[in-house]
Assembly symmetry: C2
Homo-oligomer: 82 residues x 2
């Protein structure tokens, strides 16, 4: 996976998850340093709508536009953040 | 919420999420320092089965036994972990 490409892709994510990967909105998760594989699983779960209800709907919309490669790159980028 | 009660409740969680809140299993999330409100939302999403498919099924089983108070206490405990 390509964390630099992930960074380029992460502009829209930063709005909720923070430019430093620490979500200022308390109901949203911080992503900095999270397990890379878990991030992939979570994004795919939103994309496949295995995560629904409540605020999950917002992430469904975001994940719908992501390719597997985008997801891998974003996961590498956030997992690598301290 | 009562983080000490959360700690007492967290024995079973530590098996997957790590005694220090850092999941050694790469497909599971680290919880240490995560946003407290998000942790509450996530546990409730598993309990209500709004999160399904794949490994979510494991957490559904865990969350099914948790009361709102357990969830609040566990969230306080993990959010407070550095």
């Amino acid at each position: 996976a390509d964390a630099a490409a992930g960074k380029a892709k992460s502009a829209v994510c930063a709005a909720c998850h923070g430019a430093d990967g620490k979500a200022v909105i308390p109901t949203y998760p911080s992503l900095a340093g999270q397990n890379e594989q878990y991030l992939v699983e979570a994004m795919k779960a939103y994309r496949s709508k295995n995560r629904s209800g409540g605020q999950a709907v917002i992430m469904q919309g975001q994940a719908a536009a992501l390719s597997d490669e985008d997801i891998a790159n974003l996961a590498a980028y956030y997992a690598g953040m301290k």
